[in-house]
């Protein structure tokens, strides 16, 4: 249940995620991917220069997945996110200024300094939470889909999870329940190849996570997660199926995280350098720019202007974060319980 409190920060400038008009849609896709990249790169710089932002899991490299999926959604559709959730939040329209303030532990943050990176969210954007307990958020998406079905709202829910969380029992319970109840749900597995340091080929007996869909009686597809248009097509099909009442689908997006599991993780201890180089050569933003340059409809100058606007937005976000108020000691005890006067009786 959403508590109607305004989220701090600048007004929304999200654009048109599911615009059917190609220029508007392409602008939105690039603007969000670029903003995620810039948010994470700025954050990485802040981390490396000693900003006390707590543990963070960078989304750099995976932008096309969050953006491609969210482009297939309506504003009131739900998403449940993972520990690597900044990208999902931005793709769903959360303002970057209060997000950055949250990372600085400020009262002006999305969660009033109570959540940090691993819980950063804005429920008013219909995000059920960023969640660092692997697989836990998948169950929340099942609940939101159930809620949509019972209340007949026509909403769809998306459960983002990594290929590592594909090994969690909750995820299997949820796939089965979603299938038997034909819930309006899309399971999106972001297969970035590694659960911290554990390679997917070690932890998963079948070649593709999507192959498991058959065991739950739902369609499963594997798509190139570095191609935002491929993700968008697969997500749109799955969302359409969900909204029509035909039940859940599993979309596995093959992607790559460019940096460590978190800021203190050294990928050279478990990933071959050639693999990293090859993967980074298939960058989703570069691929998008190449495609626009050869096919349009956007020009590189338009994309550069988007990047420049996002840079200014990030400058403002960091300033908003740094200048915001810290919580007071009394805030420690607020919001443990919903105050009785807010509960109907």
């Amino acid at each position: 249940m959403i508590v109607s409190k305004a989220t701090p920060g600048a007004a929304a400038e999200v654009g048109a995620p599911n615009a059917r008009e190609p220029v508007q849609q392409c602008l939105w896709l690039y603007e969000r991917m670029s903003l995620i990249r810039q948010f994470e790169e700025r954050l990485k710089w802040l981390v490396e220069t000693g900003a006390p932002v707590g543990p963070v899991h960078f989304y750099i490299g995976q932008e096309a997945v969050a953006v491609g999926v969210c482009a297939a959604l309506e504003e009131t559709d739900w998403v449940a996110s993972t520990h690597r959730g900044h990208g999902h939040c931005i793709a769903k329209g959360v303002e970057v200024a209060p997000m950055m303030a949250e990372l600085f532990g400020k009262l002006s943050g999305t969660n009033r300094g109570k959540g940090g990176s691993m819980h950063i969210t804005d429920i008013t954007k219909h995000i059920l939470g960023v969640n660092p307990i692997n697989g836990a958020g998948v169950a929340h998406a099942v609940g939101a889909a159930l809620s949509a079905k019972v209340r007949k709202t026509k909403q769809v829910a998306v459960a983002f999870f990594g290929e590592g969380s594909a090994g969690v029992g909750t995820v299997h319970e949820c796939m089965n329940m979603a299938a038997i109840w034909k819930l309006p749900l899309v399971f999106v597995c972001e297969n970035n190849g590694y659960a911290q340091t554990t390679p997917v080929e070690y932890a998963c007996a079948v070649g593709k996570i999507a192959d498991r869909a058959a065991a739950y009686g739902m369609p499963g597809v594997t798509v190139d997660g570095q191609d935002v248009f491929a993700v968008l097509r697969a997500a749109s099909d799955a969302v359409e199926r969900a909204r029509s009442g035909a039940g859940p689908s599993l979309v596995e997006c093959m992607t790559y995280r460019y940096f460590g599991h978190h800021q203190s993780d050294d990928t050279t201890r478990y990933r071959p350098a050639e693999e990293e180089k090859a993967a980074k050569g298939r960058d989703c933003l570069k691929g998008f720019r190449d495609r626009m340059a050869s096919e349009g409809p956007l020009t590189l100058a338009q994309l550069d202007a988007v990047d420049q606007k996002n840079k200014l937005r990030m400058d403002e976000a960091v300033e908003f974060a740094k200048s915001g108020p810290l919580p007071e000691a009394a805030d420690l005890h607020t919001d443990v319980y919903v105050p009785a006067e807010k509960s109907p009786s």
């Binding site: 300094g113 169950a139 109840w181």
Partner: protein
């Protein structure tokens, strides 16, 4: 109120059933879900409907009134469906989930303690998680003298591991009357509430239950029997043990006050402190095992706040510090007994 309804009596399970039914009528967003809460799921076309209704039969008959969209039999997937209830609560429903026995709490502990309990806080108060987890607990106690009970995986109390969690409210009804009122209060609460229902209250819990919906407030203990010499404090079936002990003490001229805690978290400290200020003695009776228990928590709170009023050390009577044994002779001595309460009071009266 009509004369006939004023005297109506219900037992424990039917009073919870009535609470669920009335709240489902009142609010279309209230749903119930759990394993076999109706039973024979999906077999209506073969004439099978409502095959079981859970260990307390508290959900029996709901599916025929509200249908399978709001009375949802789940697969054996506690982590999945309790988690789904969290998501459903965040997105507009008021789910009431049944975890068949509290012993199964381990299967869904993350969703209860990390998700439901903390979501409101972690999101800075911007989301509410109005959900109820109903679960059955407890041993048979000392009423039988042969055979076996349900043993270590179907007899525990375990509420201390729930009451321990900030953000989670935990209530333990002891009678049909407060079971209905606490269940309704739990459903209307805007946060997660666990309702622990004792499996073996039997006729002890039966009593007058008004037909109209009513709330027994969460966070408020009840003095069920006034007294001036010693305070006995219990919850669930232990409250009835305390009353039995008070009856026995009365024959010796000792007036025991009995407090029914009703809510374990947030605990109604003030009712306990106020009683201790008058009686100067406290025995806490707790069906859970003793380490990190409610009993010792209450003893510590009393020691910290009203120590100067005590004429004797606080005593605790708890389950044995063992798993629940199978054999009835062992189960009977595992579970707190009236004679242990009497012995504790005698020691205090010195």
């Amino acid at each position: 109120m009509k004369e006939s309804t004023a005297l109506r009596e219900l037992s424990f399970g039917p009073s919870i059933n009535e609470a669920l039914r009335q709240e489902m009528r009142r609010d279309p967003n209230v749903i119930v879900m759990g394993e076999d809460i109706a039973g024979a799921a999906g077999r209506a076309h073969l004439g099978f409907v409502d095959a079981w209704g859970g260990p307390m039969r508290a959900t029996r008959g709901l599916i025929t009134e509200f249908g399978p969209e709001r009375v949802i039999d789940t697969p054996i997937s506690e982590m999945g469906f309790v988690g789904a209830a969290v998501g459903a609560a965040m997105s507009g429903l008021r789910p009431v989930v049944e975890v068949m026995f509290v012993d199964l709490i381990g299967m869904c502990y993350d969703q209860i303690i990390n998700q439901a309990a903390k979501m409101h806080y972690m999101m800075g108060g911007r989301v509410k998680v109005p959900m109820v987890i109903r679960t059955a607990y407890g041993t048979r106690g000392d009423k039988r003298s042969y055979g076996g009970g349900a043993a270590a995986h179907h007899s525990q109390t375990l509420y201390s591991v729930l009451a321990h969690i900030p953000g989670l409210k935990v209530v333990v009804p002891s009678t049909a009357y407060n079971a209905k009122g606490l269940t309704i209060a739990a459903i209307r609460d805007d946060g997660p509430v666990v309702v622990l229902e004792h499996k073996f209250l039997g006729l002890q819990a039966k009593g007058h239950v008004p037909e109209e919906p009513y709330v027994v407030p969460i966070g408020k203990a009840a003095i069920v029997r006034p007294g001036k010499d010693v305070t006995l404090c219990g919850a669930g079936r232990m409250t009835h043990l305390c009353v039995e002990a008070a009856d026995a003490l009365a024959k010796d001229g000792i007036a025991a006050e009995v407090i029914d805690l009703l809510t374990l978290n947030p605990l109604d400290e003030e009712t306990i402190f106020e009683s201790v200020r008058r009686t100067h003695r406290l025995v806490v009776v707790d069906e859970d095992t003793p380490v990190c228990s409610m009993a010792r928590d209450i003893a510590a709170r009393v020691a910290e706040n009203v120590f100067d009023y005590l004429d004797a050390p606080v005593k605790t009577v708890t389950a044995a510090d063992t798993p629940v044994p199978f054999s009835a002779v062992l189960e009977a001595i595992y579970t707190p007994r009236v004679e242990q309460i009497l012995e504790a009071v005698r020691q205090q009266m010195g």
